[in-house]
Amino acid sequence: MSDKTEKTYLFDNPRNVDRLLKGFYAVCVFLAVFDLFVHRHIYMDWENIPAFYAIYGFVACVALVLMAKVLRKLVMRKEDYYDE
């Protein structure tokens, strides 16, 4: 309360960010491990891979972002490109 010019907010404190991320990692680990102990319905062969959806989600998003960076090289122009 000593600093009157600016209130500190939830994520101004790095420890809160840290806590949020740790909780998030814990849920990810839980979901991956849980997958090994339950029986899922299988509709197609790929789904037999343990934690298939977790792996697919991670790989898909990394691939998406890396491909989007390549796309940026191809299509990115200046903001006023069409105004010239």
Binding site: F24, C61, R72, V75, Y81
Partner: protein, 566 residues
């Protein structure tokens, strides 16, 4: 009275709004969707039809069945939420345009024949463009013009297709059309433009981000969903739609990742979501068709919610560039929370609306053995969480602190967003009420261990990818930029081509004239020096040239006679 089509309520209200003083306008605006909803609920039942005859044509202005009623409920709800969101707007232009636009959407889904459909199809185009123009910037004016050209073109194709269809079948009734013959294809492309098929989509990503903060909320609700309805009625089970739908679900997410204007990100994700609906329509089973229309229902509400949250930011900050936002959660916590509800709904988290509708399309794909395409759709599902679920709330409200401390959104905006958020959660947790409205008979329940676990895994690990990429510094930063898309063809390539063509023609003319003058002068000189110059006939040019032209004409007649009239 019970056979009154609900669009009339909206059209009458728009006249009243024009004539009434500012004091009672808001009351009128709010009463309209409520009245329409009551009328729909109490008076209109599946199986009702009403028409009148013009010349020899039967104009069916009311054809109620479960399909058209589902969309009618949706449009009334969407127009109510959008009206609340726009309640602070004093611009009569936008109020009237909003009413006619929503009314036309209702008119279109109840239209039983092609002519009636065409009329509302064009009214949708003409009324909606005012929501873009009302931004009153030159950019918006130009974008609106381009938007209008596409929309009107779609209408013209629809009319041409409908007339051909009439010639072939002798009927103008709008039922299953199918892709046999030119008529079917014309109607298909007309619907395709309005539902933003790949390469025909740029009116959407070009126009929507230029509309007013409240206008985009209206725009996102009606045009594409009327098109989805029309595809479901006219082209259910056409396999080409599966491939088109998968393309629509996949390509926009790449653009969405690199786009800086957050409303344009949402425009791309709108195409991505319509891709799921189009795929469902293409598969054509009861489950997939139900999934398609159920997803249209969820999408209007959660996409509306996301556009509203970005509209609120635009209203308070003046722009929605990801590169210049961040840290807004500090002063707009309610908008932040409501935006996150929309983000979780579009990402299809269990208990949110996207989950109960999208999973129907995904399940239907597996049942019909579209295994590889299903993998693409799973990729698109992960991608939508990435760009709409995380990127929108993260870059607007968290990320780095931009130093902006805008006020919380006005009360009417918060109420509208809260309403939409409630509907998202209600549909997501109590899907039986939405399922009861679905047109086809099917027994489906989304909540079992497999679905919930796999979807949660997919989403959490997509989020993990976002966190990892950010920590590694691999995530592409938000940059001020323009990304080339299909509109490049008509905004840059064709104009540049025409300009180059004109310049070429101009130069060609100049050099031809110069060469001819030089040549003529040398002929004239040699003539005057030759012995012919002594003849009277060539003493003065007029007579000389007259003789020359007469002989040319005679030769031309001769040639015509030989080659054409022989």
């Amino acid at each position: 009275m019970s056979e009154l089509s609900p669009f009339l309520i909206y059209f009458l209200a728009s006249l009243l709004v024009l004539a009434s003083p500012a004091m009672i306008r808001n009351a009128l605006l709010l009463a309209t969707p409520v009245l329409a909803a009551l009328h729909l609920f109490f008076n209109i039942e599946p199986g009702m039809t009403a028409s009148y005859t013009v010349l020899e044509f039967e104009m069916v202005y009311l054809r109620a069945d479960k399909l058209s009623l589902l969309f009618a409920y949706l449009f009334t709800l969407a127009s109510f939420i959008s009206t609340v969101f726009a309640l602070h707007v004093k611009d009569v232009r936008q109020q009237v345009a909003g009413l006619i636009y929503a009314g036309s959407a209702l008119g279109a889904v109840f239209a039983g024949d092609f002519l009636t459909l065409f009329i509302f199809w064009e009214l949708l185009a003409i009324s909606s463009v005012f929501l873009i123009w009302a931004r009153d910037t030159e950019r918006a004016l130009n974008a609106g013009m381009r938007y209008l050209v596409f929309q009107v073109l779609s209408g013209v194709l629809l009319l041409a297709g409908a007339l051909l269809h009439y010639q072939e079948t002798g009927s103008l009734m709008f039922d299953h059309v199918g892709l046999n013959g030119l008529a079917g294809w014309l109607v298909f492309i007309a619907f395709g433009i309005k539902s933003a098929f790949p390469f025909l989509h740029s009116w959407l990503t070009d126009g929507y981000p230029e509309a007013t903060p409240t206008g985009t909320v209206y725009l996102s609700a009606f045009t594409t969903k009327v098109a989805v309805y029309s595809l479901a009625r006219g082209f259910a089970g056409e396999e080409i739609l599966v491939y088109i739908g998968v393309t629509m679900a996949c390509f926009p997410i790449f653009y969405a990742v690199i786009e800086n204007d957050l409303r344009k990100v949402l425009a791309y994700s709108l195409i991505n979501q319509v891709g799921f609906m189009v795929t469902g329509i293409g598969i054509g089973t009861a489950l997939s068709l139900n999934g398609a229309v159920a997803h249209a229902f969820s999408d209007v509400i959660f996409k509306g919610l996301l556009f509203m949250s970005m509209g609120a930011v635009l209203f308070r900050v003046g722009h929605v560039n990801g590169s210049d936002l961040g840290g807004l959660y500090k002063t707009m916590p309610k908008t932040t929370g409501l935006c996150i509800v929309g983000a979780m709904s579009i990402s299809a988290f269990p208990l949110f609306s996207g989950f109960v509708s999208k999973s129907m399309v995904m399940s239907a794909m597996l049942m019909e053995n579209y295994d590889y395409l299903w993998l693409f759709m799973l990729f698109a599902s992960a991608g939508v969480f990435h760009h709409a679920g995380i990127k929108i709330p993260y870059f607007a409200f968290f990320a780095h602190d931009s130093g902006l401390r805008p006020q919380e959104a006005p009360l009417n905006m918060l109420v509208a967003m809260a309403l939409a958020a409630f509907v998202c959660l209600f549909i997501g947790s109590q899907p039986q009420y939405l399922y009861a409205l679905l047109p086809w008979e099917v027994d489906y329940w989304p909540y079992d261990l497999t679905h919930v676990l796999t979807q949660t895994q997919l989403l959490f690990f997509s989020a993990l990818a976002f966190v990892w990429l950010n920590k590694q510094g691999l995530y592409p930063p938000e940059l001020h930029s323009t990304n080339l898309d299909a509109e490049w063809v008509y905004r840059k390539f064709l104009p540049a081509g025409v300009q180059r063509g004109l310049a070429f023609a101009h130069n060609a003319k100049k050099s031809t004239v110069a060469a001819t003058v030089v040549h003529m002068n040398s002929i004239r000189r040699s003539l005057s020096e030759s012995s012919i110059a002594k003849y009277n006939l060539s003493e003065s040019w007029p007579t000389g040239s007259m003789v020359l032209w007469i002989s040319f004409t005679l030769v031309a007649y001769l040639l015509l006679d030989i080659f054409i009239y022989k």
